[in-house]
Symmetry: C2
Subunit: 217 residues, 2 copies
DNA sequence: AAATATTTTTAGTCTTGTCTAAAAAATTAT
DNA sequence: ATAATTTTTTAGACAAGACTAAAAATATTT
């Protein structure tokens, strides 16, 4: 069994490994968790003893099989709760994160199992991210950044990179949501900003926005 | 804002005050929380500084208005989650307690509000206990013990005193559930055991059982 | 390859919440 | 009313998790 703190470390390392492969540095973990590198060193030693990760001094850490499963199960719970909040309790996709962050630590296999069934075994959360199964497996949705489209290409919004409230509210305001068709009308070569058509309306978005939206063709 | 531990102390004291009035002893709290009296003294000092209770050395403690509201809100969440687990996730009434014990600490006013609405604003939990409103008010269901009935009197099961898994499973096995009509056929003066009729079947129960079932006439 | 800069670890401290053992107060019994 | 008992509090210690400051290792420059 893991403490709240241990679970948060596992989840952070899991996410970092998803993005940048194996061998995660102390500093990367510290900045993700908004803590200090020295605290990370302490915790990482503890987790190494529990066999959920491998740690060699000055070499960063890597999750073991068991560590990956444990972390994926936390992510699974987080995303299931997000679906619940949006579909059943009228939360919008920018409001779910903080609450799911708490709910993901509830320990009850039956609860997770039944919640999954109650929601109809969803495959993705409200931001388009895949929900791992009990064994920690999940389809890595093949997705590209909106910014990788060329002029006149079309895609469907399948996810976002940044889940901050600000960003999601911006998307809502402009009619961009999961499943929405996005057409690139033109690309401004000067600053990389795009003119896109979404939900029938034409819209100009910065390149920064475009690198935070995932689409599928 | 209160820590997990502080919330558990508040809830314990709240429950003790419900049963035995004001001025709760250190020892009573310690035994309810399965901790030591010295730990209670420490925590109680902390909570007194936070103005949620009044503490005078050697005199026991009493919740303030604000302490009562805080505690009732935790109880509110606990009982709403119990309803959710039983009504939506196929938990039986003997399985809900441990999970609700975790869920009651989730901090999100919107979550509590929406959950309440989602469940149709229930007034009692699966054990028949009243669900406080946001302000901490609740109808104290006037209930009597089954053991207070005389021969040939009839009542409806509205709650239980003991919520342990063992006891609830015993009730399930014998067809006793909330809303069930119970008729006292005879009382054995020797040991106080009762012969009752419930769900069409005749059943003999000990006096201990009868003092753990609440009925309304 | 030495010097500098960065990253990581160690050592020691702090807070929260708990515990044990001993002291102090309150209660009960004689 | 004094003695014995029980309850409660104090004092000091400990574990978890975090922090600061300094030391050690690694990386980067020149």
């Amino acid at each position: 069994m893991f403490t709240l703190s241990e679970e948060n470390y596992l989840k952070a390392i899991f996410h970092l490994e998803m993005m940048s492969g194996t061998g995660i540095s102390t500093n990367a973990i510290a900045s993700k968790l908004e803590t200090k590198a020295s605290s990370v060193t302490d915790m990482v030693k503890k987790l190494a003893e529990k066999q959920v990760l491998v740690y060699k001094k000055y070499q960063g850490v890597s999750l073991t099989k068991s560590g990956k499963t444990t972390a994926a199960r936390i992510v699974r719970k987080h995303r299931l709760w997000e679906v619940f909040l949006v579909e059943k309790l009228n939360f919008s996709w920018d409001e779910v994160h903080d609450v799911a962050e708490q709910l993901e630590h509830i320990k009850s296999p039956k609860l997770t199992r039944e919640l999954d069934a109650f929601l109809g075994f969803p495959k993705t959360d409200p931001h388009g991210d895949p929900i791992p199964d009990h064994e920690g497996r999940f389809d890595s949705v093949e997705k590209r950044l909106l910014s990788s489209l060329k002029e006149n290409e079309v895609g469907v919004c399948v996810g976002v990179d940044d889940s901050s409230s600000n960003f999601l509210q911006y998307l809502d305001k402009n009619g961009i949501s999961l499943g929405e068709k996005i057409e690139v009308l033109s690309i401004e070569s000067f600053d990389g900003s795009l003119s896109i058509k979404v939900a029938g309306k034409v819209l100009s978005i910065s390149s920064k926005i475009a690198t935070n939206i995932y689409i599928q063709s």
